[in-house]
Amino acid sequence: MDVLVVLAILVILAAVVWVIGAPLRAGAAAEEGAGPDAAGFEELEAEKAAKYREIRDAELDHRTGKLDETDWQAVDRQLRAEAVAILREIDRLGGRAPPPDR
Amino acid sequence: MDPARKRSLRLVVALTAAVVLAGALVYTSVSASTPARTPGQLLGRAVAGRSYQLVGKVVDGSITHRGAATLFRVRDRDGTASIPVRYTGAVPDPFRDGREVIVQVHKSGAGFVGEKDTLVTKCPSKFTAKS
């Protein structure tokens, strides 16, 4: 029994070391896949999603009678312009950093 | 009014409101609270007609029933000073000898009367570490 316990502890320890150590063994190079601009790219994607959500929200607000026609058109125009700006930025980055494989 | 002054004015208004509300909170809490006392602190010093939050342990073997009333003694957590309490109504399930209880009481004659629905017994799940 005691031997088994010691064995089990050793097995767990080895597994832990193996799991935690894997990235360190592979070295920095293997993890570089996404490129240096990936962080900025992700951030822009999140901004884009938020902007799209806002456009949809405004549209729904308009359709459910909470935004007047003129107000909505102004808001919508502005939001779409901001979305376009974000898209441009994404494409500018996209030339160098391909989207991560998801 | 220029924006900066407007902003500072708004800040002052908000802060004043916060201070007034906090003051009201403290005021109501002081008037609504009851002093927490151990049996030793109440012995001979309790004022008739005032409510106290009694905190202590049920004395072993002191629980008796008289009709719907439960009579028991409460002692200091680490001590022997104890006072008699008469409580009417249903007692919580975990209530028994040696349990820590909290009950709102007022002095009545030589003993203390528990106020309705104020008896709380500590959840025994956390007691097993000691017992």
């Binding site: 316990v5 901004e47 938020a50 459910t64 441009r88 | 909170l25 919580p92």
Partner: protein
């Protein structure tokens, strides 16, 4: 096996420390390989702690009384289902559950964010590993669940009967999941502040985790309330007990956060406020854990002496200092991009909502810690439920009103015309509800309840109007049928309609709370068999006493004494209730007869539950009629023991004695004290909770990801096309 468990705990402490160090190193050095290693250390932590958890569960289920915690919290007569739940009924077991849930949830979150926020995650990993290290350290150094007993007892002392309720299986894990999940937004906030990346991506991630935590904590709280109502012979669901309050605090600030984060997302405002809310919520979650596990406040949950106080205080003070320091350091990065345009806008409504939630949290905090504050001033004083009710009821009413109003006004600025158009029907409906209730009678002298009902009507009508108008708009664009249009509308706007559903659920819940607290009839009566008590329009007759001995595997589990009650209304019999009280053996399974009544005893509450009202009953039998029988058999058994008669004869005498006690009780005319409650609409509290849960799921469900393809077409067209999807 205990050795293996202990080794797992020590190992997890070491892993957590490694994760803390590696995360910080990865951040300072900007090394991705080290960051990946830190993240994997959290996975490994979850794995090792799972092994520890399994060892403990196996010990409980297999009745391994060589474990000290099994011997003191389980027994062979404990039902198998409750043996599994008994793991977290002890201090050390619940700490293990806490850290195991922390590691598991952290692993899931870090796995989901493994390719995102590469700057922020190493710091967040370090923070989460730091929390894990703290709790693993407690388990290793002060409260190990793997203590063994030198002398192994034949049987354990059993799980406290009060805790034998199905909710016990899920209430603590839900609550702890909420607590641990709230440390995740905290960790990401620290990460975002440390790296200076308080941006849109951080919001998206944090919002979802905060929502999950909010949902779990909410379910945990509701389950606790339900357990208290259905199991404790008290009949209430909320007592403003410090531990209840402690679980409510992070929930309140968390609710404020999920609302105000929307303003930051849309308008770039309130950045400092949001980050502070997340940090405060995380700290309050830790504080909640601490309050349950310490004795600093007199609570039904807290216990007298604890060794955990000082480490926890150090941790909490450290967290507060860290939070304030980080916010002050990065405040220049968090300037507002806009200002509020108008007081008649959704931003303003959200702002008021935040003030109310934070105000509520402050009030509850103040009331909870009032004894400590006054103790420091030299006169320890307590605040009771009446004070809490007086302050929180108006705030709750205002919140329901605001929750009804906010969805009806638009962002930025609402004009008078569209306010009129949007508010007319809901306000009209709310007024109608109020008038109808006043006309029906009995409500006018309860203004708080009346206001709550009317505002709930306003809220529900507003949501219905929103859904109707949205569906109608959807149908003008597509030829969908009505049901299909509703589904696709909700699917395309999950967050919006999920949120509305949560509002409806909360309003339902508050209607239940208002009705059951304002119109409840409660009585404690002492009656004899044949006598009748009248309460709230019902006549409850004590028909006859009942009694039985319940055994499990040939051993006495408990004695049940109670009463048969016949409930009738206007002379018509509705139902029969049989509330009882279960008496469990004092210590050893074999004790003299009277010992059965010196141990734990629990009320078995019985009720007629209905959508309109619950008729609730609990009984406290009077034992005076059976005391002589007990004494006779106690004496006989003592004599047999003195004469060294065989043990099985003594056991037989014990069993006969118990049967005799039970028969005597059931055949006699023993008086009993009953607590009877007629409580209207209580069921809607639980129904409201389920609706909130459903709404939370709807808004949390990830939206289908739009296909991301680079298109050469014009940007405006691309925006239009990508909007059309999903």
């Amino acid at each position: 096996m205990a050795t293996l468990g202990r080794a797992c705990l020590i190992l997890s402490f070491a892993i957590a420390l490694y994760g803390l160090g590696a995360g910080l190193a990865a951040w300072r050095m900007g090394r991705r390989d080290i960051a990946a290693s830190a993240r994997r250390s959290v996975y490994a932590l979850a794995g090792v702690l799972t092994v520890a958890m399994v060892i403990l569960e196996v010990a409980f289920v297999g009745d391994d009384f060589s474990f000290a915690t099994v011997a003191s919290h389980s027994s062979t007569t404990t039902p198998a289902f409750y043996k599994m739940a008994a793991v977290w009924s002890s201090q050390e077991g619940s700490l293990l559950l806490w850290v195991w849930l922390l590691a598991s949830w952290s692993s899931l979150v870090l796995f989901l964010t493994r390719r995102r926020m590469r700057d922020v995650t190493p710091v967040a990993t370090a923070v989460l590993a730091g929390f894990a290290a703290f709790f693993a350290g407690l388990l290793v150094f002060t409260a190990s669940p793997f203590e063994t007993l030198a002398a192994v007892p034949v049987d354990g002392s059993g799980l406290n009967p009060l805790l034998r309720h199905p909710s016990m299986m899920i209430h603590p894990p839900m609550l702890y999941s909420g607590y641990t999940l709230f440390t995740v937004p905290f960790a990401f906030a620290v990460g975002a502040l440390a790296t200076g990346k308080v941006d849109a991506e951080w919001i998206t991630a944090t919002r979802r985790f905060a929502l999950a935590a909010w949902l779990f904590l909410g379910i945990g709280i509701i389950l606790g309330a339900r357990w208290s109502y259905a199991e404790l012979g008290w009949g209430g669901y909320w007592a403003w007990d410090p531990v209840e309050n402690a679980s409510l605090l992070p929930w309140l600030t968390g609710t404020a956060f999920i609302h105000s984060i929307m303003i930051q997302e849309k308008r770039g405002m309130l950045k400092v406020w949001n980050v502070s809310l997340v940090l405060a919520t995380g700290i309050l979650a830790i504080l909640g854990t601490f309050l349950v596990r310490s004795g600093i406040l007199d609570s039904i949950h807290a216990f007298g002496a604890s060794t955990l106080g000082i480490p926890f205080v150090v941790l909490i003070v450290g967290l507060i200092a860290l939070s304030i320091g980080l916010v002050a350091w990065r405040s220049s990065l968090m300037r507002s991009e806009h200002r509020i345009d108008s007081l008649l806008s959704r931003e303003a409504a959200f702002l008021f909502n935040n003030l109310l939630f934070v105000g509520l949290a402050f009030v509850v905090f103040f009331g909870t810690f009032f004894p400590l504050i006054t103790d420091a001033l030299g006169d320890r004083r307590n605040l009771g439920p009446p004070w809490f009710n007086r302050i929180t009821v108006p705030l709750a009413i205002a919140l329901v009103g605001l929750a009804g109003l906010a969805p009806l006004i638009s962002w930025r600025r609402a004009t008078r015309a569209n306010l009129r158009r949007n508010l007319a029907i809901p306000v009209g409906f709310g007024v109608l509800v109020a008038i109808a209730l006043v006309a029906a009678g009995g409500v006018a002298d309860r203004p708080a309840a009346l206001a709550m009902f009317a505002l709930a009507g306003f809220l529900v009508a507003g949501v219905a109007q929103e859904l109707w108008r949205g569906t109608r708009a959807r149908r003008t664009m597509s030829a969908d049928s009505w049901p299909l249009a509703v589904v696709s509308l909700v699917r395309r706007n999950r967050r919006r309609y999920g949120g509305y559903l949560v509002h409806v659920g909360m309003a339902t819940l508050f209607v239940g709370v208002a009705a059951s607290s304002a119109f409840q009839h409660a009585r404690d009566v002492r009656i004899r068999p044949g006598q009748t008590a009248a309460i709230g329009g019902y006549d409850i007759r004590y028909a006859k006493p009942v009694g039985r001995v319940e055994t499990r595997d040939g051993r006495v589990e408990r004695i049940v004494l109670g009463a048969q009650l016949v409930v009738s209304k206007d002379g018509k019999v509705l139902s029969t209730l049989e509330p009882t009280r279960g008496y469990y053996p004092a210590s050893a399974p074999f004790a003299p007869v009277s010992g059965m009544f010196g141990g734990e005893s629990t009320s078995e509450v019985r009720m007629i539950a209905g959508l309109r009202r619950d008729v609730w009953s609990a009984v406290e039998p009077e034992l005076s009629s059976v005391r002589p029988v007990m004494r006779t058999y106690d004496r006989a058994i003592r004599r047999m023991a003195a004469e060294k008669r065989p043990v099985d004869q003594q056991v037989l005498a014990f069993r006969v004695g118990l049967e005799k006690v039970v028969q005597t009780y059931a055949a006699g005319q023993p008086p009993a004290t009953f607590r009877m409650i007629v409580s209207p609409l209580v069921a809607w509290i639980w129904i409201g909770g389920i609706i909130v849960f459903g709404g939370g799921l709807v808004s949390m469900w990830p939206a289908p990801r739009g296909v991301r393809r680079r298109a050469p077409a014009g940007y405006a067209a691309r925006v239009a096309r990508e909007l059309g999807r999903a």
